[in-house]
């Protein structure tokens, strides 16, 4: 697909990690115009210094850096509950009027009424509907994304699973 036809999405650190943990980031970058801010890349670089699970995934994400668009913006509207990187992403989403993809519950909670913000599971249902991946594959990926078994991820898992099974 031509670059000019690609839909734009802003992506934060948590969503980059989620998407790459199920090997979906390459396809997302090929099919969409993915934008982020420098602070996200710096966060990924910090993660990559560690040799744990997230460090290894962050290293893999950083290999795509040349295919991700970087943009900066002034923080004109500050949400006090959010850290700087998240305020940058929020302001860029406001300015460019494009959706932000994040698995950071706090960021989602404080911005959901002001911008279009989705969990990374957005791409799972988009790809199943577009027949890029099968329903079975998507359910397997969803299971992997549930890896961090806290109650917040559990809600995302159950809600998405129910909807995916209807497709």
């Amino acid at each position: 697909m031509e670059n000019s036809l690609k839909k734009q999405f802003l992506v934060d650190t948590s969503a980059f990690i989620s998407l790459e943990s199920v090997n979906l980031l390459k396809q997302v970058i090929n099919l969409f115009n993915i934008i982020t801010v420098n602070s996200v890349i710096n966060e990924l670089k910090d993660f990559s210094k560690h040799n744990d699970k997230y460090g290894i995934i962050a290293k893999r994400v950083l290999k795509f850096t040349n295919k991700i668009s970087m943009e900066d913006t002034d923080v004109k509207e500050q949400i006090r509950y959010l850290q700087n990187t998240n305020n940058e992403l929020f302001n860029l989403a406001l300015k460019k009027k494009i959706p932000l993809v994040s698995d950071d519950h706090k960021l989602v909670h404080h911005t959901k009424d002001k911008i279009d913000i989705y969990f990374s599971t957005f791409f799972l249902t988009a790809f199943v509907t577009a027949e890029i991946i099968s329903k079975k594959e998507s359910l397997g990926m969803l299971e992997k994304l549930r890896d961090i078994r806290n109650w917040k991820n559990n809600i995302i898992y159950l809600t998405t699973k129910e909807e995916l099974e209807k497709l």
């Binding site: 697909m1 909670h109 913000i117 989705y118 957005f122 890029i132 998405t160 909807e163």
Partner: protein, 105 residues
């Protein structure tokens, strides 16, 4: 971190055991109890909220019931995450339809 004093009565056998543990590990008894208690509470809280979130997401209990059990902060968070997860799925399906057209076209 703010702290509060809690007085609890424990069996003397348990205190004797705690003495042995603290001597062998060369740790402060109070610090050791606090660490163990924090670990257990965190684990138990997550497990219970996981079960509560199952019931809420499956529609077995309402937001109001969650609120009555654990307070409005957690109930609001549960509702917010559930709504965003649903919205993400629906938006994904809509974009998926456009994507399918763009790829095949």
């Amino acid at each position: 971190m703010q702290t509060k004093q809690v007085n609890i009565r424990v069996p003397t056998d348990l205190l004797d055991d705690l003495d042995i543990v603290s001597k062998l590990l060369k740790v402060n008894k109070s610090e050791w109890i606090k660490t163990k208690l924090a670990e257990d509470i965190h684990k138990e809280k997550n497990q219970l909220l996981l079960e509560l979130s199952n019931l809420y997401t499956k529609g077995i209990i309402s937001k109001k019931e969650v609120q009555n059990l654990v307070g409005s902060e957690i109930a609001n968070q549960m509702e917010s995450i559930h709504k965003t997860a649903k919205r993400s799925v629906k938006a994904g399906i809509e974009y998926g339809k456009q994507l399918k057209k763009a790829i095949s076209g």
